[in-house]
Symmetry: C2
């Protein structure tokens, strides 16, 4: 994703520059361009960048938007809701999908506007697409660095070929393993006189529902069966105590 | 989405508390809980909260995680990659989808750990699910408030019933309108002697590809046809100049 430029247009607060740099590096991006920043370099930018000082070190500072987007094939401008001239507009997720499907040699720029006023109409009209972050109507204005985070996050997610969710570390139990475990449980419950075979009610259905709802892995099945086995042994002992075998009659 | 609590566990920097409050309000959430914050209240929190001071005003400050998650039916803990005991783990998008499909009366808590150390293993083991934000291996550690932003963003996106992309303001052109416009264009190009009927080459194919690739709306079709009409009139004039009608022979 080296061909995506994040362009901050006239940012006022150096903290946002540092925050944007960190957000970019967290999401695998490193090309930060600043158009006429108010305060930069600044210790506040370095502090907020934390482990992304290398992104700040290679930042391009330029005087106007035209310089920041020179050589770019696809330019996206972040925008708030209502503009008089409608423009092709998409969500961060849709923009991210378009970015990752661009030809590898395409250079892409994403423009973020001033903290107070955003991008001017003239700047927005240089863009092929506008990007809106869906937000609550009551307070839709995201902090600048937060907006960079959301957009970079979506670009990174779109770039992941595999499902980002880590796989479970154990094999999931098969249907047979699950049934075997439930049979074993039922057997134990009978042995310990918890389940009345003649009047079972809905007990096993409820237990089945409980264990089916969780997707158990094979280790968990083994652990449960180990517990049942011990319960069963204990159960037999208890059973033999509560129902002592018929003793030989007392001696006359 | 009033039933989702964002819980920051022992945050060090008040700026992150304010940033989290703003991120929450931007995404329609307002229940912020702080477990044993290092510095709070603090002017830095207020400054970063910007238009979300109301979220700070109703923030709950408690002494431990148990108090923060009391009454919650589903507890999610944000976590970095490798934990020794694997836990059900999902991406922000998947967690968000699970949250919006919870029963309306469910109370949900999402725990975010300390800036430096995250959540302890004991805290993570109180959680039904762990949440991992996919991030670049080179620097996967997001700023705390940024992590809150990403998670709240996904919750808000999942809560939107309709496609968040704003609809185009005009009706899209029909296939007939598009063909009519292309016919008109071809006619004009012939009239102005730009298209040679006997040797057309690939000109119309290239123009067709250009206009088909854009999804034109009906106003744009009208504008183009208006332009073609004027071109055609001008073309006839040009044509009549370059090919003047046979004049009557000069008088003898």
């Amino acid at each position: 994703m080296r061909n995506v430029r994040i362009v901050l247009v006239e940012p006022s607060h150096p903290g946002n520059i540092g925050g944007a740099a960190r957000a970019m590096k967290n999401m695998g991006l490193n090309q930060l361009w600043l158009v006429n920043p108010k305060r930069y370099p600044d210790p506040q930018a370095d502090w907020r960048a934390a482990g992304a000082l290398d992104v700040l070190d290679t930042t391009h500072v330029v005087a106007d938007v035209a310089s920041a987007i020179a050589g770019c094939h696809w330019v996206v401008g972040t925008s708030t809701r209502s503009r008089r001239i409608p423009w092709p507009t998409a969500s961060p997720k849709q923009i991210a999908q378009q970015i990752v499907s661009q030809p590898a040699q395409s250079n892409i720029a994403i423009l973020f506007g001033r903290e107070d006023n955003g991008l001017t109409n003239e700047e927005l009209q240089r863009c092929h697409y506008h990007l809106q972050i869906p937000a609550a109507a009551q307070y839709p204005s995201l902090n600048l660095a937060m907006a960079v985070q959301v957009v970079c996050y979506e670009i990174y997610q779109a770039s992941l070929k595999d499902d980002p969710v880590p796989a479970w570390d154990r094999k999931m139990a098969t249907a047979e393993q699950l049934e075997g475990m439930l049979d074993h449980l039922q057997q134990v419950l009978i042995e310990i006189d918890f389940l009345d075979v003649d009047n079972p009610g809905k007990l096993m259905t409820r237990l089945r529902r409980l264990f089916v709802r969780q997707q158990l892995d094979d280790t968990e099945i083994q652990i449960l069966r180990g517990i049942f086995k011990h319960f069963g042994i204990a159960g037999k002992t208890i059973g033999s105590e509560s129902n002592p075998p018929p003793q030989s009659p007392p001696p006359p």
